[in-house]
């Protein structure tokens, strides 16, 4: 185990940033999001939840995939070089780290996504353990241990000191120059945190029945109408979610050619499935249902029972009208016959 005084963090980051890009939680006008570090940036590692998750580092909200040029009746296609530069992603909480496993299942399964794969390959991930979980955290339901996340390096903040331990060769190398430390403070913190985790209101959600075997039962529940009643059809939950990965592909005419880019999309949007002749999900009830069915039933059905939710709690905090996945789980979960 290594350690670094938080007061020395900026110094360390500045040195690291000379050779590699660093992405970590940064405060900008009152909000903390993952951003690229530059000396002087207001780093905010203690923030439990960034507004947007860490997924941007691998799957940015917008990315250009190719360019087209047209001349007369001819078209030429220019590919865009993949991002092949090493970078360090710091301050990833256990929930967000778990989300990478879910994103990997999508983007690295056949046919794999080269844009995502390149960024994934070049990242050194430094996770950060939680010591003050919020009342609406529920990651432990999804197999996350927020006191001991993995990645290339695991870090803990205890009393103004950052403790770090390498989990991979890449990780060991990153922290090699730091001072050695004993791990007692970390172990003490972990024990304390685990006690709190056990007491969280959502520590034990009943996920029984959220699987492929109960697909039609969950889909046909009469509760979706009530659950979705207040839904505004905005994309907040989707865009702050670490596992939502649906995307749109669009063309942008720059005036000097056409860029084909992809961007995050939301199944909550009315145009998500809209075709020239109509849509198969005409009202918000169907769109709302799709989002939660996908996370809790369809995804696990296709992925050995892995849910596409990591319990980060962002949708609970950010939904303008306080709808969220926990309300859905509580309404539909468990062995019940009143669906």
């Amino acid at each position: 185990m290594k350690k670094l005084l938080l007061s020395k963090l900026d110094e360390w980051l500045t040195t690291l940033s000379e050779t590699q890009r660093i992405i970590l939680p940064i405060k900008q006008t009152d909000q903390v999001n993952f951003g690229v570090y530059a000396p002087g940036a207001e780093v905010s590692l203690e923030t439990l939840r960034t507004v947007k998750s860490a997924k941007d580092a691998f799957f940015p909200q917008v990315e250009n995939m190719m360019n087209f040029r047209s001349e007369g009746k001819s078209i030429s296609v220019e590919t865009v070089p993949l991002e092949e530069e090493d970078f360090i992603l710091i301050g990833v909480r256990g929930c967000d780290e778990k989300s990478f496993e879910i994103l990997d299942r999508v983007f690295l399964s056949d046919p794999f996504d080269p844009f995502y794969a390149a960024r994934r390959k070049h990242a050194t991930i430094v996770t950060l353990a939680c010591s003050r979980p919020d009342e609406n955290c529920f990651c432990t339901n999804f197999g996350v241990d927020p006191t001991n996340p993995k990645g290339d390096v695991t870090s803990w903040i205890v009393d103004g000191t950052l403790y770090l331990t390498g989990n991979t060769e890449k990780g060991e190398a990153l922290i090699a120059s730091l001072e050695d430390a004993n791990d007692e403070p970390v172990a003490a913190q972990q024990n304390k945190t685990r006690e709190i985790l056990e007491k969280l209101p959502f520590a034990h959600l009943d996920l029984n029945g959220f699987d492929g075997d109960h697909l039609m039962e969950k889909f046909s529940s009469s509760k979706w109408a009530d659950l979705s009643e207040a839904c505004l059809g905005c994309g907040t939950c989707t865009f702050v979610c670490p596992t939502c990965q649906c995307y749109d592909i669009r063309d942008y005419d720059t005036g000097r050619g056409v860029q084909r880019y992809r961007c995050w999309d939301s199944c909550m949007y009315s145009d998500f499935t809209l075709m020239a002749h109509g849509t198969n999900r005409p009202t918000q009830v169907e769109r709302f249902r799709q989002r939660f069915m996908h996370k809790l039933v369809y995804f696990p059905s296709n992925n050995d029972g892995t849910y596409s939710c990591v319990g980060c709690g962002r949708c609970l905090v950010k939904c303008p009208q306080n709808l969220n996945i926990v309300k859905v789980i509580k309404a539909l979960g468990g062995d019940r016959n009143d669906n």
Binding site: T29, K52, K199, A230, P320
Partner: protein, 324 residues
């Protein structure tokens, strides 16, 4: 007050005035109330307390075609402006709504409590000007006014601008604040400073459309930004200025109709002070055409669609534009 309100709703339902009420229902915590349409049987889920911030008026649009008789609607003083505006715009049929004006003493913003470093929130006790927040990590006492929703700091007053009856007391939580203070500050900045202010704020935008979808003035059946045939439909910024245009266009579109209900800023996940764009328009309208408050009563014609001989000459607008 919640009990009094619930009894009144039940009585109205018993009398056959309506069989549904647009209200707030209890969430998983004390603070995450959710807009809901409740029947008499579901009234037990209803909640009315300091955490019922959302403006419910827009939900009535969606209900209009379904209502045969009437629906009860709980409307706070500030929400009554939006309701009037929607009646003016023929989005809501006044005859189909029985408006219960509910008293309001300012609503608490749980995000503001969190922003004070309070986490693991499990409960709250309100004692006059103070609130005590219970958390997994101990109790904290805060000044109530420090954690009110942004919109409550510029409260429009305790009067309901539309109501069939009122239940409960209201309080003006504005404490004499000037809602144009920040607008003036922005006006005094140099164009570069102002541009940089907005770039910093708007570059956080994630194009979730929460501001638009919650906005009572954004009631177009199909928004231009959702319509693939417009050529401007989008859900991400294809270039780095696009999100700015989205917000500027939206502000223009609601100019004269925006009641300054503050929902846009309340719901923004990135905390962008979107209401300032609207307030700038309101302040300009006030200056050019005389003080005007959208939604003060139903049936108003706002200055931008109304002509009087006293209207400012376009040249005056033009000159001011050059100076700004």
């Amino acid at each position: 007050m919640q009990r009094e309100l619930m009894e009144r709703i039940r009585a109205l339902m018993d009398k056959g005035v309506a069989d549904q009420v647009l209200a707030w229902k209890r969430g998983e915590f004390f603070y995450d109330t959710e807009p809901a349409i409740l029947t008499k049987d579901e009234l037990g889920e209803m909640v009315y307390d300091s955490f019922c911030g959302p403006n419910l008026s827009k939900y009535l649009i969606k209900e209009m075609p379904k209502i045969e008789n009437k629906i009860l609607a709980l409307i706070k003083p500030c929400d009554s402006y939006s309701l009037n505006q929607l009646i003016t715009e023929h989005r809501i049929d006044r005859d189909k709504v029985y408006v219960i004006g509910v008293g309001c003493k300012g609503k608490i913003d749980v995000d503001k409590i969190r922003a004070k470093g309070v986490s693991g929130i499990t409960g709250v006790d309100e004692n006059g000007d103070k609130i005590t927040v219970h958390t997994l990590y101990g109790d904290t006492t805060l000044d109530r006014k420090d954690v009110l929703l942004g919109k409550c700091l510029f409260c429009k007053g305790k009067e309901h601008r539309i109501a069939d009856e009122t239940v409960g007391e209201s309080e003006d939580t504005s404490e004499g604040s000037d809602r144009f203070e920040m607008v003036k500050k922005l006006e005094q900045m140099t164009p570069d400073e102002r541009f940089s202010f907005w770039r910093k704020e708007l570059s956080k935008c994630i194009r979730c459309n929460a501001c638009r979808n919650v906005c009572p003035a954004c009631s177009c059946v199909k928004c231009v930004f959702d319509n693939p045939n417009t050529g401007v439909q989008n859900k991400a910024a294809a270039n780095e200025f696009e999100e700015n245009l989205f917000h500027i266009i939206r502000a223009y579109h609601v100019a004269g109709r925006c009641t300054d209900c503050g929902e846009c800023s309340r719901v923004c996940p990135q905390g962008i002070p979107l209401h300032l764009l609207n307030r700038k328009f309101i302040s300009d309208i006030n200056e050019l055409y005389g003080t005007y408050q959208a939604g003060e009563c139903a049936g108003q014609r706002h200055p931008l669609i109304d002509y009087t001989q006293e209207d400012s000459e376009p040249s005056i607008v033009h000159e001011r534009g050059n100076n700004g």
